[in-house]
């Protein structure tokens, strides 16, 4: 095992453990939704588990998986160890310490503030300090990625960046721009206020800073999944990447449009003017475009694979694809779910229409199709592919691994469709008990919440299978020489020279310019307005 693989494995295992704990928390919510009279069922337990599930899935599982995958991409596309190694390990330990602190405060019941931690709900200071450590740790990772790229670029001044690394460069740049918002919120507002140094806090300013970070966070999750779709999937499917230059364009467009869109999470907020919300709406729709291209290119790559495996008819290429390979089936199924989730996202972003779905069960139905499927299912599929290649152990319980993506798919269909419908019927999200003292309208949600709970059980079974395969492989997998990590080849060879897509400083500069256009004026007028701060509350 090389040093860089040890680094990747260390990150991967934090992601897997976080996923396991977060899944257990989801199980408790599913049972609670079914209104079963279980002995440990209580409102305190429910809201605690919502918080722990959100923090561990959205912030810990994703970030650590992406850090692991980033180091794999550096070592396998640039042909060099991620460096400086000390900085990489410092980032790992900082982020891990931060996660343990934040998750520990949540599990101790001192930070039941959900993963969005909107003030003036006030968590224990250790929760906010833990988050700061996680962010700083991820910055160390970002620096290692950038420095490794720079060292490679010096040795290869004229070569195009390998496609997988190109996608990871976009991921890193988006992350660095986005985390400025959450760092500002955490360091200037939340930490001083939770420690009692500042008596009050401005919740709308906090929401602006959080969502400045909160939407590009979505692309920080999604882009590594896209990297896997573009550069791993075609090869595993037995084909080639349909169009490499468009893949490069897609990642570049994400650098530009990921950040200046945060107000579409604040459509229903007072204190933010409608005109700026409309501008963010337009920019939000611009970001649909690269995902539309991705849908075509990745599907076309699958067709190429099917035809290379001997298909000749209009649709028989679908049947030739390796549906028993867990990486392939995970991604194919996650794409189907993501297509529905993406269209739902366009509805959420539709300015006036948002009022019908805002903070209803529709929203959890939506993001379990996007981050909960397109991202999480892809990462699980990728873990089956990655773990044997990094650890030199054969995948244990491979038959279970084959079934697992389908279990997730069925569970997510049940969970997501029922939540979209109850959302349209007006059921709020994240409620321990949706009976509202015998309200007649609330009674109409009943049957569907039951279906949602059944979906949750399927998802939990799927997550449990995933954990068994991972742990089984680590403990009992047969040792052997690991297969090499090989990336998909493009159908048409790319020119062997640098192009505009390799000019990352330029893309980052335009992205920052767009951020200034979208945020500078509203932020400035907000800070100049006469505002009243709010003291903290701990109703948990």
């Amino acid at each position: 095992m090389t040093r860089s693989d040890r680094l990747s494995l260390a990150h991967l295992w934090v992601a897997i453990v976080a996923f396991g704990v977060a899944s257990a928390m989801a199980f408790m919510q599913a049972l609670s939704r079914a209104s079963l009279d279980l002995p440990w069922r209580s409102a305190k337990m429910y809201y605690l588990s919502v918080t722990a599930h959100g923090v561990l899935m959205a912030l810990v599982f994703t970030t650590f998986f992406i850090m692991a995958f980033g180091y794999v991409v550096v070592s396998r596309t640039l042909g060099r160890e991620p460096a400086p190694r000390g900085l990489a390990w410092a980032g790992y330990w900082l982020a891990l310490a931060g996660c343990v602190a934040a998750a520990g405060t949540v599990l101790a019941g001192k930070a039941t503030v959900l993963y969005t931690f909107y003030p003036p709900l006030q968590a224990h200071p250790l929760f906010y300090v833990g988050l700061a450590f996680l962010v700083v740790g991820s910055w160390c990772w970002s620096m290692v990625m950038l420095l490794s790229y720079r060292a490679w670029r010096r040795a290869n001044p004229d070569a195009p960046t390998p496609l997988a690394m190109h996608g990871m460069m976009a991921t890193v740049l988006i992350w660095l721009i986005a985390t400025v918002g959450v760092a500002a919120e955490d360091l200037t507002q939340l930490i001083p206020w939770s420690l009692g140094w500042a008596p009050t806090i401005d919740p709308v300013l906090a929401r602006m800073l959080f969502w400045y970070f909160g939407h590009p966070l979505v692309y920080f999750w999604l882009l590594p999944a896209y990297v896997i779709w573009y550069t791993v999937l075609p090869r595993v499917a037995g084909g080639k990447l349909f169009s490499a230059p468009l893949a490069r364009l897609v990642f570049a467009l994400f650098i530009l449009f990921s950040t200046p869109v945060g107000f579409h999470h604040q459509f229903m907020d007072p204190g933010v003017s409608a005109g700026w919300k409309l501008l963010h709406t337009f920019l939000t729709f611009a970001i649909l475009f690269p995902s539309f291209i991705t849908a075509f290119t990745v599907t076309a790559s699958m067709e190429v694979a099917g035809r290379m495996r001997g298909a000749t008819g209009l649709l028989d290429w679908l049947g030739k694809l390796p549906w028993r390979d867990p990486l392939f089936s995970s991604i194919a199924l996650s794409m189907i779910l993501f297509a529905a989730g993406g269209i739902g996202g366009a509805i959420n972003a539709s300015f006036g229409m948002n009022a019908v779905v805002h903070n209803t069960a529709w929203i959890q139905g939506h993001f379990h199709l996007t981050v909960g499927s397109a991202v999480a299912l892809t990462f699980m599929g990728a873990a089956y592919w990655l773990l044997p290649r990094l650890s030199g152990r054969e995948l244990e319980l491979a038959l279970l691994a084959r079934v697992q993506p389908y279990l997730w798919f069925v569970g997510m269909i049940l969970f997501s469709i029922s939540n979209h419908i109850t959302g349209l019927m007006g059921m709020p999200r994240r409620v321990y008990d949706a009976s509202y003292a015998g309200s007649t309208v609330a009674a109409t949600w009943r049957g569907l919440t039951g279906i949602s709970a059944v979906g949750g059980l399927f998802l939990f079974a799927s997550a449990a299978v995933f954990m068994m395969v991972m742990v089984g492989t680590a403990l009992a997998g047969r040792r052997r020489e690991p297969e090499p990590i090989v990336w998909a080849e493009p159908l048409e060879l790319e020119p062997a020279r640098r192009t505009i897509f390799d000019r990352y400083l330029l893309w980052a500069a335009v992205a920052i310019l767009l951020v200034i256009v979208a945020y500078a004026y509203p932020l400035w007028t907000h800070l100049r307005m006469a505002r009243f701060g709010s003291p903290g509350f701990r109703p948990f």
Binding site: A43, K44, Y47, T112, L114, Y118, P120, L121, D202, P203, V204, R207, F242, S243, P245, L246, L249, Q266, M268, D269, P270, G271, S273, A274, K277, F282, F285, L288, F289, F292, I293, F296, A300, S350, F351, G352, N354, A355, V356, H358, N359, T360, M425, G426, P428, R429, V431, Y432, D433, Y436, A437, S439, M529, R531, F532, S534, P535, F537, P539, F540
Partner: protein, 157 residues
């Protein structure tokens, strides 16, 4: 960049779809003033009970319209029952006495965040008389799910 024909068609179609989405939003804004609640007015969140703007809570109805003033608090709306007339524009003015809440009239497009220090305001018209459920839709503490109130829309003779 060499883009295959079918993908070119797909890209143009995607671009057209996005423009069509944005056109419907623009028509909604220009034609029917379909806008999210975006009122900008601040208030001292520690003194809402003494603030003149929130002294008279509940509905005030005149011949052409109605205004409903509400305070959201852990874990109730004040007042807990409101009566408004059907087919007249009703303006809701809501603020919070403690944490951030949500305010949603189930089955309608009445929906806004209620953030301490700020006053949320939106106007809507109810065409169907009957009893509506008003709920908090933003997590606000361990009894969040108990936070609701009644809205009675009364038919007009």
């Amino acid at each position: 960049m060499n883009v295959p024909l079918y993908e070119k068609i797909w890209m143009w179609a995607s671009g057209f779809l996005i423009v069509a989405f944005l056109a419907t939003i623009t028509v909604g804004v220009a034609g029917s003033a379909l806008q999210p609640p975006s009122h900008i007015e601040t208030i001292d969140p520690t003194k809402v009970w003494n603030d003149a703007r929130f002294a008279k809570r509940g509905a005030t109805v005149d011949e052409h319209s109605a205004t409903v003033v509400l305070i959201a608090m852990m874990f109730a709306f004040q007042p807990a029952e409101v009566h408004v007339p059907a087919n007249r524009p009703v303006t809701f003015r809501v603020t919070s006495a403690d944490v951030t809440h949500g305010f949603e009239i189930v089955g309608t497009n009445g929906n806004t965040m209620v953030v301490p220090g700020y006053i949320s305001q939106f106007t809507t018209t109810f065409h169907t008389p009957g009893e509506y459920l008003m709920v908090c839709n933003e997590y606000c503490g361990l009894s969040h799910h108990l936070m609701s109130a009644k809205l009675i829309v009364e038919a007009q003779p």
